[in-house]
Every structure is written in structure tokens, then in C-alpha cells.
């Protein structure tokens, strides 16, 4: 079948994409065959076990719990030594031979019930001996069969997920988990249906059901080989060497992997509590079945029918609900559904009458099985996604096999203890036994529920553990390495040597007074001059004779006494009086340098009305250089009457930065004056666009509120400036709070605009992609206001430039962080999808035709 057609068919059951189709189909078939086998084996196992005394029941589980460590160790050795394909094939062959052996044992036992063992004429003494052995020790064989069945299901399911991990990366596996679970459920239904039909119709005795299974497992071997053949083919194309390096999964390594990881410890505890509760519910169920069914055939039929119904309900539940619960409510609530439901059902056992006991047992055991087959299975696999690949194999083997079986053993011990405690015969009625056990069940269900929260709390932390920064924000790098204002002042000082020595020394004086200059900078500026360096600098900047007018003055400027003298001069009343009278004349000078020097000096003068008037005029000077120095003066004096003049300079790209700096120096009191500008139709767009940066530099709560309110007006021409400003406030002002109810609608609006960039009229693909990236950047910038900033930035960086695996983690992290509606629209934009698929998903999310 062509890949495209296969993909279309599989798409109805799960999110399958192109190259995954063949391997996904083979794995689904494998899971189908494994669970079909298991659900044929299971009624046989349960029937034989229930047929034994209740006191024997726990020993099957105990045997598994005690011997599972040995099985894990042997399995680990095989897993390490054999190629994965050979290992899985060999395992399945082992289980096939086991089935044939147990069929022989049960067949011999059943025939022994109505025939006398004799040595026939051919002298087959072995068969006679075997018959005697089986007859005398049948319960031991039943327990051995239960142990074998437990090993079969635990190992085959774990091996199946190992194959999934081999074939797909975590994000692919997450998408395909629903398809695999569907395959498993239908396999279960088919197996249980076959068992029920054959036993109800009395076509074959129960033990002969086991003869069906080897055929299914032979097909499973074919499926395994198909998976790995397909994987080899796709890896050869992609140059992927993952299969060549299998992880070591020894029992000790597995234990250490879980012990050393807090998340895995909690996960193991959660799984253990769930298994203990589920096993005790199973014992309650068995007790009820034992009390009501006495014939072995009837029991087998009932149990097969029970599993058939539960699997059918599970399949319906899975197809209708699992995906939706996970998608809509996330892993957090999906984890809690099963323990919450079982807690409610288990609590009702204390109020139901005896007549409803079978129905109750159906609901309790059925509920446990249904959730285990559907949501539980999916959630368990998803919880392993954040675990690194090397640890995952070890942890999975340890938790899914060892912890699972030890928990089953613990439940068995609890059942034995409860049995031993039942000393009075009247307490052996079904209701009493089920209720007494129910108390313990409730305790473990409550523990399970608590642990789901605990695991979920760790889950995002584990996801983001490997999501470090790919690149540092430009502003962060600059702030870490240099003082941008100082650099600009140094460049201005150097440049001013060309204009006027006086201006140069003025700048030098300002620099020395306000900054702690490094020795290199002092050298550059001629302070503490190293003659060779100074000459080199003079030559470099071509200052000619200008540097020679006041030789050695650079040294003087650094002198504290000299600086004090200058300060005193500025404070002299006579100086102020003279300057008040003279400034008007100086600023009318045709010499640009004189006006610059005046603007520079005003920074240090007292703010008398004539001085401030002169500053106002200098702020309106025709020379950009004069304005630049005047803006610096305005930022020192911060006079309200200068604000309208400064605002005009926001429209000029040559003065915008200094004008913004000057306005920001006014501080929070200017915020009220800036707010109306943002929405004033009279102001040029350049001015309005420059205002958000000023508000961001002020960084008060009121400034942030104004920016958010302005964003809500949804003016396209202001959007980038407003988001940049809000992003800056979030980065630099931890105390500023953003209200979700104000930002959420704007976030959704931005996401929808990003969707429009994809759904809009088709243009050149490069331009469409560029537009989408710019839109997404705005979305993520806004997300930093609602969610932890560092996490959002990391997720964004990995989605943009991460490895396939880190992209998966980032997506998974966002999946657990973001609001459901936001995710519905955002994920089709950020996931790696073919263009057609992306458009289709967006249209679906936007409910477009």
C-alpha cells in the first residue's frame, strides 16, 4: 500500500505523518497481537487461580514479586548483549514455548480428571510420570502459570515501548501513543472476544485457548521484524545512528537511575500506589466472582465476557475521550481522573447492599482496567517524555517491571494479612471481605491521588531542565560587558577634540566626575598619559595642534582639588549673575562650538529663569550637536516647560535616543503627560512610537498599565513599540505586575494575527515565514508577561533553533504551561508541520471552513 494512502487511513486513528506510517502500523499491529494474546491467556489464568483456594491467590503475585528481580537481571543481560531485533524475537519465541508447555500441563490435568493414568503399550513412562506430577502438584503449576503470565505481560508491554522508543523520538511517540493504545485495545477486545466466544459456546476447553496464542505471537515476531526493517530503512535515509548505541539497562543501573532522580522516585511511588490499589480491587473482584460462580467453565466464560465488555468500553472511551482529555485538560487532570473515579466508587462499597455487589465489582475492577488501558497507559508513557533517553530505558524497566511487580507483591502480602485477620467465619461473607479490603484500597487510592499532584509539580521542572539558553539576549550581553552610556560619552569626548579643546576638556571633566574610568580609558583620554600611547592616540584621531593647547591638563582634571574649585565657581552668586546676563548673547553666537559649550555648561549651572530660558532655546537649535548637549542639560534640570520641546526631538532619528533619555530622567511624574501622546492623532507617528520606550525606562506600575491599555486599542502601527516596552519592563522591573484579564485578550489577538500570517493570501514562502516569525516573537514577548520569563524565552529559542529533541521538550513544556485556547491556536504555528497540515489545523482551531 502506498505511504500516502496508509497515512490517510491511519490519520483517522491518530496523528500520523508521512514517513512514520509503516513503522506506526507495524507497532500498532505488534501491540494488537501482544494484548490479544494476553487477553486470551488472562481468563485462563484467572479461572484456574480462582478455582484454587483464596489463600493461594496472593502466592501467584508474591512469586512474581520475589522472582521478578531475577527476570529483570536476565532480561537486562540479554538486552545489553543482543541486537534489539534479535532480543525481541527471542523473547517472543520464549513466550511461545512457554504457552505450549503450559497447554500441555493443563491438558494433561484436565484429562486426568476423567481418565486413569496407565503406562501404555508403547511404554511412554515419561508421560505417566508427568501426569502424576501434574495431578499431585497442580496448584504449584497454576501459580507457575500465573507467574509466567505476569512476566509475559510485563515484559512484552515494556519491550513494546522500548521498540516504540527505538523507532520514534519522544514528540513523535507522544503523537502516536493514541494510535498504539488503540491497537492494544482492539487487540484486547479481539482476544477477550475470542476467549469468551469459544468458552461460552463450549467450542474448546479453557486450556485449549492457549494453543491459539502461539499463532498470534508468531505474527508478532513478523511485526517486530517489520518495525526494525522499516527503521533501518528510514535511518539510512536520515543518517540516524540511534539504534547502534543501545543503552545499558542492568537491574542495578535501573535502580540507581530511579534512586538518583527525584522525579522518577515520585513517579515510581505513584505507580506503586496505583498498582497496590488496583491489585486489591482485583482481589475484591475475585472474591465476589468466587462467591457467585462455582463452575470453572462458567467462571472462565464470565471473566472472558467481563474483559470483553471492559475492553469494548475502554476502546470507546479511548477513542472518544483520551485524546480530548489530554488535549483540553493536559496531563495534570488526565493523571487525576483514574484515582478520583476509583476513590468515589470504592467509597460506595460501604453503602451498597449484597445484591449489588457483583455490579459494584464490575464497576470498580472495570473502571480500574478501563483507565489502566486508556488514560493511564497514555499518561504513563507521556510522563517518561522529559526523562533523558539514557535514563528512560533503565527507569522504564525498573518502574514498569520491577516496581510494578513488587507493588503487586505488596498487595498480595496485604491480602494475606487481611485474610489471616479474618478469624471469625461470619466475616467471610463477600460483603464484609470486600468492605474490609476497601478500607486499605481507599488509603492507597488517596495516596495515588496525592502523588499525581506531586509528580505533576516536578514534571515541568524536569522538562525544562535541559532547556538552557541557546543565545543570550543582546541587551543582557551588552549590560554584562560594558556601560553603554559611558561608551557613548567616550566617543563623544573623543569626537569633541576635533571641534574645540575647551569642549573636549568639558566632556573630559564630566566623564571624570561621573565615572570610574579604567586605566585604558584614561590612557585613551590622555589622563596619566603614557607618552607613546598618547602620541599614538593623537595620531589616530588626527587632533593636530588642539591637544597641545593645554598640555598636561588631563592630569589636572583628575585632581580632586581642581574639581572642587570648578564646582565652587559654578556655585558663585557672581558667576550665576554674569552667566544669566551673558548666556543670551552666547547662545546667539553663530559659532556652533560656542553654543555647544554653552549647552554643556548649563548642565552644571543653577536653574535660574534666564538659564532655563537659554536651555529652552538651545533645545530648539538648528544644529543637532547643540540639541544633543542641550538634551543632556534638560535631563539634569528636568523642567516641565522643556517637555514639549524635548518631545519634538522624538521624531528625529538623530536625537531620539537622547530625547528618550531626557524624558525618562523626569521619572514617574511625567507618565501622566506621556499617556495622552500615545493616542493623540495630532502627534507624528514617530513621536508616538518613541513614547513606549520612555515609559519602559521609567518602569513604574502606572507606566506599565498605560502601555497595556494602549495595546488593547490594537493599533498595528504601535504594536511592536508597545510590546518591546512591556517586554523591557518585565525584564528589568520584577515588582511590576500584569493583570491576566487585561493581557489574555491581547495575547489571543496576537496569536490570531500570527494565524492570519499563515492563512493570508499566498505569497513568497520566505516572506510568509519571516512574517510569521516576527508575529511569533511578539506572541512570545507577551507570554513573558503572563508566565515565567526565563522559561518562555528558553522555549522560544529552542523552538526556533533547538535540536529536534529540545524542540519536543520546549513544546511539551509549553503544552503544560499555556492556557488551552492559546495552545489550540499557537501549536499549529510552532509545531513542525507540512504547510498544508498547518493550514488545516489552524482552520479547524479557528472553526473556519
Amino acid at each position: 500500500m502506498a505511504d500516502g494512502r496508509l497515512e490517510r487511513i491511519l490519520k483517522r486513528l491518530g496523528d500520523v505523518r508521512g514517513h512514520e506510517a509503516r513503522a506506526a502500523l507495524a507497532l500498532s499491529a505488534l501491540f494488537f497481537l501482544i494484548t490479544a494474546t494476553f487477553y486470551i491467556v488472562k481468563p485462563v489464568k484467572e479461572s484456574f487461580l480462582i478455582g484454587a483456594r483464596p489463600g493461594w491467590w496472593p502466592f501467584a503475585d508474591l512469586a512474581t514479586a520475589l522472582l521478578i528481580g531475577l527476570v529483570v537481571a536476565v532480561n537486562a543481560r540479554l538486552l545489553d548483549r543482543l541486537p534489539r531485533r534479535t532480543y525481541l524475537t527471542a523473547s517472543l519465541l520464549f513466550f511461545i514455548s512457554g504457552l505450549l508447555v503450559f497447554w500441555f500441563i493443563f491438558d494433561v490435568h484436565q484429562k486426568s480428571l476423567y481418565s486413569t493414568p496407565v503406562a501404555d503399550s508403547s511404554g511412554v513412562f515419561f508421560l505417566l510420570w508427568a501426569r502424576m506430577m501434574i495431578w499431585d502438584h497442580f496448584p504449584v503449576f497454576v501459580i507457575a502459570f500465573c507467574f509466567w503470565a505476569d512476566i509475559f505481560i510485563a515484559m512484552s508491554v515494556t519491550q513494546f515501548w522500548i521498540a516504540v522508543n527505538d523507532a520514534f523520538d519522544p514528540h513523535e511517540a507522544k503523537r502516536l501513543v493514541g494510535l498504539f493504545v488503540t491497537g492494544g485495545l482492539f487487540g484486547g477486545i479481539a482476544g477477550a472476544a475470542a476467549a469468551a466466544l469459544m468458552t461460552v459456546a463450549r467450542l474448546i476447553p479453557p486450556e485449549d485457548l492457549l494453543l491459539v496464542c502461539p499463532f498470534l505471537l508468531a505474527l508478532a515476531i513478523a511485526a517486530v521484524n517489520a518495525v526494525y526493517a522499516e527503521k533501518r530503512r528510514t535511518d539510512a535515509v536520515a543518517g540516524d545512528e540511534r539504534l547502534a548505541v543501545p543503552a545499558k539497562v542492568g537491574a542495578w543501573e535501573s535502580f540507581r537511575a530511579v534512586r538518583n532522580d527525584r522525579y522518577l522516585r515520585r513517579l515510581a511511588a505513584m505507580v506503586a500506589s496505583a498498582i497496590i490499589a488496583g491489585s486489591l480491587i482485583n482481589y475484591q473482584f475475585k472474591w465476589v466472582v468466587m462467591s457467585l460462580f462455582t463452575s470453572g467453565q462458567a467462571r472462565t466464560s464470565f471473566i472472558a465476557l467481563f474483559f470483553l465488555v471492559i475492553l469494548a468500553v475502554s476502546a470507546a472511551f479511548h477513542l472518544l475521550t483520551t485524546g480530548r482529555v489530554l488535549k483540553s485538560y493536559g496531563i495534570r487532570w488526565a493523571m487525576a481522573v483514574a484515582p478520583a473515579f476509583l476513590l468515589a466508587v470504592s467509597a460506595t462499597v460501604f453503602v451498597i447492599p449484597l445484591g449489588l455487589l457483583l455490579a459494584w465489582a464490575w464497576v470498580a475492577r472495570g473502571g480500574d482496567k478501563m483507565f489502566d488501558n486508556t488514560l493511564g497507559q497514555s499518561v504513563r508513557e507521556l510522563l517518561y517524555i522529559p526523562v533523558s533517553a539514557s535514563v528512560k530505558y533503565r527507569a522504564k524497566v525498573f518502574i514498569d517491571v520491577l516496581v510494578n511487580k513488587i507493588a503487586t507483591g505488596t498487595a498480595a502480602v496485604l491480602w494475606l494479612v487481611l485474610n489471616a485477620w479474618r478469624v471469625f467465619e461470619y466475616r467471610l461473607d463477600p460483603l464484609s471481605v470486600v468492605r474490609e479490603t476497601g478500607l486499605v484500597v481507599l488509603a492507597f487510592l488517596a495516596l495515588w491521588l496525592v502523588l499525581t499532584r506531586s509528580v505533576y509539580r516536578e514534571y515541568p521542572a524536569v522538562l525544562k531542565k535541559d532547556l538552557g539558553r541557546i543565545w543570550q539576549e543582546g541587551r543582557t550581553v551588552i549590560d554584562a560587558h560594558l556601560d553603554e552610556k559611558l561608551v557613548r560619552e567616550v566617543f563623544d569626548a573623543v569626537q569633541s577634540r576635533e571641534r574645540s579643546t575647551t569642549l573636549y576638556y568639558m566632556n573630559l571633566f564630566n566623564l571624570v566626575r561621573s565615572k570610574n574610568l579604567t586605566p585604558e580609558l584614561q590612557e585613551l583620554l590622555g589622563i596619566k598619559r603614557n607618552e607613546l600611547k598618547a602620541r599614538a592616540m593623537d595620531a589616530l584621531f588626527d587632533v593636530g595642534a588642539a591637544g597641545g593647547l593645554y598640555p598636561g591638563l588631563e592630569e589636572t582634571i583628575t585632581d580632586a582639588e581642581f574639581q572642587k574649585e570648578i564646582d565652587l565657581i559654578y556655585l558663585l552668586p557672581a558667576y550665576q549673575k554674569i552667566m544669566d546676563e551673558s548666556l543670551g548673547r552666547i547662545i546667539d553666537s553663530p559659532s556652533e562650538v560656542e553654543r555647544i559649550e554653552a549647552a554643556n555648561s548649563i548642565c552644571r549651572m543653577a536653574p535660574s529663569p534666564p538659564t532655563m530660558d537659554a536651555l529652552a532655546r538651545l533645545l530648539q537649535d538648528a544644529s543637532v550637536e547643540v540639541v544633543l548637549y542641550a538634551l543632556n542639560g534638560a535631563s539634569v534640570h528636568r523642567r516641565p516647560e522643556h517637555v514639549p520641546i524635548i518631545l519634538r526631538h522624538l521624531a528625529n532619528p538623530m536625537t531620539i535616543v537622547e530625547a528618550q533619555t531626557a524624558l525618562a530622567a523626569y521619572g514617574p511624574e511625567i507618565v501622566g503627560r506621556l499617556a495622552p501622546l500615545l493616542r493623540s492623532a495630532d502627534e507624528p507617528l514617530e513621536v508616538r512610537r518613541a513614547v513606549p520606550e520612555v515609559l519602559a525606562r521609567i518602569g513604574s506600575q502606572k507606566a506599565a498599565d498605560i502601555l497595556v491599555a494602549e495595546l488593547a486599542r490594537r493599533r498595528e502601527d504601535m504594536e511592536q513599540a508597545l510590546i518591546d516596552a512591556l517586554y523591557k519592563i518585565r525584564a528589568e522591573r520584577a515588582r511590576v505586575r500584569f493583570r491576566e484579564r487585561d493581557l489574555r485578550p491581547e495575547l489571543r489577538f496576537l496569536i490570531r494575527k500570527a494565524c492570519d500570517a499563515v492563512l493570508g493570501p499566498p505569497g513568497p514562502p520566505d516572506e510568509a515565514r519571516a512574517a510569521l516569525i516576527i508575529r511569533l516573537r511578539r506572541v512570545f514577548d507577551l507570554l513573558t508577561l503572563l508566565y515565567p520569563r526565563e522559561d518562555i524565552i528558553n522555549d522560544y529559542q529552542h523552538i526556533l533553533q533547538g535540536t529536534p529533541k529540545s524542540v519536543d521538550y520546549a513544546l511539551e513544556h509549553l503544552d503544560n504551561l499555556l492556557d488551552r485556547e492559546d495552545k489550540e491556536l499557537l501549536f499549529p504555528l510552532i509545531e513542525d508541520l507540512p504547510d498544508g497540515e498547518r493550514v488545516l489545523r489552524l482552520k479547524r482551531a479557528l472553526r473556519l471552513k
Partner: protein, 115 residues
Amino acid sequence: MVIKTRELGNIVIFDIQGEIRRADTIQETLHSLVEAQLDRGRRNLLLDLGGVEFIDSFGVGQILASYISTQHLGGKLKLCRISDKLLLIFKITMLDKVLDIHEDCDRALESFGRA
């Protein structure tokens, strides 16, 4: 200041001539040209300063603003053929710690591929 842009593969090269400094007349700034390339989806930008004689504080601001905008989108901005004079000031003011400066443009172009 005259800025010409050309593309070499996925790299946009800005050939800058003259002085990156404040002018009395409003003109297109380096930062606005860089932003226009970022809006077009270009992420690898190279400033060829071979023809630049001087940079004032405005020019420094333009280069730093271009660097911030490029980094914000996960892009790379590099400088090449910076004059000895400017390189000395860049070093002393530690701008070389922030900006990726290459002696010649071929090496700068190669380094885009390596990163």
C-alpha cells in the same frame, strides 16, 4: 554615510562608506536598514566597515541597537574590516567583548557557517 546592501547566500552584507555619525538632516539609519532585513527574515548580517572613517556615539548606538534587534530574533550580527583606529576604541571601551569583530570579511562570512 552611504550604505549599500548585498546578499551572499543567506548572509546580508552592509557595505558602509563614510562616517556613522549624527547628521543635521534626517536620513535612513543603519538600525532601520538592519530591521528591514530582519523583517524580511534575514538573520545573518555582516557590517563591512572597511570604508568607515569615524563613528560617533550615535553610530555606536546604531550598531548596538542593530545587535540587540538581531539577537532578539536569534540572528547574528558581525563586523569586519574595522579600521585600526576604531578597533582600538572598540577594544578600550570593551565593545569587542560584545560584538563579533573580524579582521577580514571572508573569515567573517566563514564564521556564519561554523556557528
